[in-house]
């Protein structure tokens, strides 16, 4: 999940709601979409800004671990593909920032909150990409987990968010397939050393990928309100289970071992049993103490600050052009 532990505001029972709030909840229950200028509870608006903002930040920060490999891709074709994927992520960030902006916050405000550490992005991007198989694994597992989350969010109650998700899902499937394709090559046609690299990547990314769905439902305090508002459709544990069940046969085909001795099929529940990730590690990474938190944030802040003169320059140019056009119009009258 690209949005983890989003704090939801003000869970209310039907009796506690005002007439306006009840009418709003009825619309959501009927499956109607809420559009930007319509009335919404303040808590709904704030929670959405947090969730969509965090989601957008994840797309943008998510470019960094992969960008690291654009110049190191093994072939020109792989390089072009990776470049296209990373460009897609920028686009996804943009769709989401635009959706958040319809709620009355500006993109610059959201970026400032990211840069100051006030807003978070997905924990997964605080892990390093150490070898080429990591890029395959990120596409396969990380984008795979993201799709799992995003597919259900296409049905979310807020119109602009839902439409952004539909666009993103259309493009995301390419990301997962390109990742799996890298691993197919390394695992089935590669040298033993390349296969080892793939297994090493799997070992490092398996649990961080499971963490993407957020804490276990029993510790997920904000889920109830978000689900009532249809900002969230499935619980963290439901999605995690689905992800594991989907991934097991894919790993098997590659001949990779999932690093979990407790992983086994459970006939009774019709799904796999598996080990929970280390939640202490998760909370540490969220708190800013993961292997790459400082590096990622620094890269973002530097890019933003180094680009300031350019952004300002273009704006100054645009204003000058506007003034010139206005003067020319006046002269012609």
């Amino acid at each position: 999940m690209y949005a983890q532990m989003v704090k939801a505001e003000g869970a209310k029972s039907r009796e506690e709601m005002s007439d306006q709030e009840r009418a709003f909840q009825d619309r959501i229950d009927r499956g109607e979409k809420i559009e930007p200028k319509e009335w919404m509870p303040e808590g709904y608006r704030k929670t959405l800004i947090r969730q969509i903002g965090q989601h957008a930040h994840s797309e943008i920060v998510g470019q960094l671990p992969e960008g690291n490999w654009i110049t190191r891709a093994p072939t020109l074709e792989r390089k072009a593909i990776l470049l296209a994927k990373v460009q897609d992520e920028a686009g996804h960030g943009l769709y989401l920032y635009s959706a958040a902006e319809t709620l009355g916050v500006s993109r610059d405000e959201l970026l400032a909150a990211l840069h100051s550490g006030k807003m978070k992005y997905s924990s997964i991007f605080n892990y390093p990409t150490l070898n080429w198989a990591d890029i395959g694994t990120v596409g396969w597992l990380v984008d795979g987990a993201a799709i799992m989350n995003q597919v259900q969010l296409q049905k979310t109650s807020y119109g602009p968010y839902s439409r952004a998700m539909i666009r993103i899902c259309k493009e995301e499937s390419f990301h997962q397939r390109q990742g799996y394709d890298i691993l197919l090559k390394m695992c089935l046609q590669g040298t033993p050393e390349q296969k080892d690299m793939a297994q090493d990547a799997m070992n490092r990314f398996w649990y961080p990928a499971l963490m993407m769905f957020g804490p276990s439902d029993k510790d997920s305090v904000h889920s109830a309100q978000s689900m009532q508002w249809k900002i969230k459709i499935n619980t963290n544990d439901e999605l995690r289970q689905k992800f594991v069940d989907q991934t097991v046969p894919q790993a098997k085909y590659l001949g990779l071992t999932i690093p979990d001795p407790n992983l086994k099929w459970n006939e009774e529940k019709g799904g796999h049993d598996f080990s929970e990730p280390d939640w202490d590690e998760f909370f540490e990474v969220i708190a800013g103490n993961g292997p790459c938190n400082a590096e990622r944030l620094e890269a973002r802040v530097t890019a933003w600050e180094d680009g300031a003169w350019f952004r300002d320059g273009l704006m100054a140019h645009a204003k000058k052009q506007d003034a010139r056009r206005a003067a020319a119009r006046l002269a012609a009258e």
């Binding site: 200028k37 686009g91 769709y95 493009e171 273009l314 704006m315």
Partner: protein, 94 residues
């Protein structure tokens, strides 16, 4: 944040002779750049053959609260739809 780029709404004509359709928005310093950015953001997979951009703050929209007064009057005028009129089968297609 003195120089935040303005927001633009983007409209794209798909490939099949359709109307321009709203696809989303983006930030750009001027119209020319908005077109370039729209190309990169909204047509990476051949989604269009023509782009319109317009500054978001120049769009006038109907208010959600006007939904009733604006649109309800047409609800009662079902005779505006051809299916309102029964044409005998013997007459053939009309």
């Amino acid at each position: 944040m003195s120089s935040e780029w303005p927001l633009w709404e983007v409209f794209i004509r798909g490939q099949h002779g359709l109307n321009h359709r709203h696809v989303g928005s983006l930030h750009a310093s001027d119209a020319e750049m908005a077109i370039c950015n729209a190309r990169d953001v909204y047509t990476r997979r051949n989604e269009g053959v023509s782009i319109w951009v317009v500054k978001s703050n120049e769009i006038t929209a109907s208010a959600p609260s006007d939904k009733g007064p604006l649109f309800e009057p047409s609800n009662s005028k079902v005779y505006r739809h051809p299916t309102f009129f029964d044409i005998p089968a013997e007459v053939g297609h009309m």
